[in-house]
């Protein structure tokens, strides 16, 4: 009569094995899509070509081999654009020569009002290593697309308008790949440390 418990044990063991098999197989099949979710960020970093406020053409190829930061904005922006540019200026001042290890680009999303002269005048207030870039409407659109960034003209009163725009700072590695967004709300020391790390990328990358 000892056959019954042995049979029960076999059944239970089979259930456990089957259960484990089911868990493992679901995790395996569910695992592959999660491995691909980061591909959204891979869309950052494509071809673009713009003219800087100092007159030279800057494109993704001329930047190759060097890390850089990108911020989209416009001069008719009273709050977040000057705030970010002053913060970047302060960080670069603090880093001193280390900050020459990366480029900082301010791309105008309002080339209609931001002429090269307007940008050149505006840039005198910030770190001289920051380059303001502008292009034709088509070149500006291409730059936005290269970073999967967004900008839209919003009409206000008679003839006036403002711009909605992506307001984060993009960190680009020396190989042209996307290194994430800079969190301007992080403690100052953390941001400085991140920038020091980015500046070093050039040395190892070249």
């Amino acid at each position: 009569m000892s056959g019954l418990p042995a049979f029960r044990l076999t059944i239970w063991a089979a259930i456990v094995v089957l259960g484990m098999f089911l868990i493992v197989s679901t995790q395996l099949s569910g695992g592959s899509p999660t491995g691909e979710t980061s591909s959204g960020t891979a869309r950052v970093g494509g071809p673009f070509s713009l003219v800087s406020h100092t007159g030279g053409r800057v494109d993704n190829q001329s930047l190759a081999g060097r890390p850089y930061l990108v911020f989209f904005g416009f001069t008719y922006c009273p709050d977040i654009c000057p705030t970010t540019l002053f913060e970047l200026t302060d960080l670069m001042t603090e880093l001193g020569p280390v900050a020459t290890g990366f480029k900082v680009l301010f791309i105008s999303i309002d080339p209609e009002r931001d002429t090269r002269e307007t940008l050149a005048s505006s840039m005198t207030s910030f770190d001289s290593r920051i380059l303001a870039l502008r292009g034709t409407a088509a070149e500006t659109d291409a730059a936005l697309e290269a970073f999967s960034a967004y900008a839209k003209k919003v009409p206000l009163e008679v003839g006036e308008y403002t711009m909605d725009h992506t307001a984060g700072v993009f960190l680009m590695k020396s190989d042209g790949s996307f290194g994430g967004m800079m969190d301007m709300h992080e403690p100052r020391e953390t941001r400085l440390e991140n920038l020091r790390r980015i500046a070093k990328d050039q040395v190892t990358g070249s």
Partner: protein
């Protein structure tokens, strides 16, 4: 030059800086039930077409009031605007009706939110300078104030640059 002299110069400079920053720190204006705390404007790049300005409004009255906008000799006009962030996108909109300050309430205009926008400033705003302005309230009427020009908010989320003692 003796090191003692150097130290004295250093201390004097530090003292002067402290006094200056203290005077810029706390200034306020009032009119009836409305109190305006520390109005300041951000340093502007040269030839900036706009400038952002910030302050705190406190209404100690028993009726709500409304800040509609204002004027200043150094710009075309002052409007109330709001910046909002969503999905990493900054959107700025004028608030044509201004902002309400509830009875006994207080509203802070600060970077990254509601702010005053100076349209077409006729001069560059230089750190440490100041300028006069008139704010318009629905109930309290006009309030005369003076903005101080600063580079960064006085007390803020770690973006200030007044933390001394860094390595060279």
């Amino acid at each position: 030059m003796s090191s003692g002299f150097k130290l004295t110069v250093k201390l004097t400079c530090m003292l002067a800086a402290t006094l200056l920053s203290t005077s810029a720190l706390a200034h306020q204006f009032s009119q009836g039930d409305i109190k305006i705390g520390h109005p300041w404007s951000r340093v502007t790049p040269s030839a900036a077409p706009v400038a952002g300005a910030y302050l705190t409004v406190t209404n100690s009255g028993s009726q709500p009031d409304r800040l509609a906008g204002g004027s200043t000799p150094i710009a075309d006009r002052i409007e109330v605007h709001q910046m909002t962030m969503g999905d990493g996108i900054a959107r700025m909109r004028p608030l044509p009706d201004g902002i309400e300050i509830a009875a006994g309430g207080s509203v802070e205009l600060a970077p990254g939110g509601i702010h005053l926008m100076l349209i077409k400033p006729n001069q560059q705003l230089i750190e440490g300078s100041s300028f006069k302005a008139t704010l318009e309230f629905a109930r309290a009427g006009t309030v005369e104030i003076e903005f101080v020009v600063q580079r960064n908010p006085t007390v803020q989320t770690g973006s200030g640059n007044e933390h001394g003692g860094h390595t060279p």
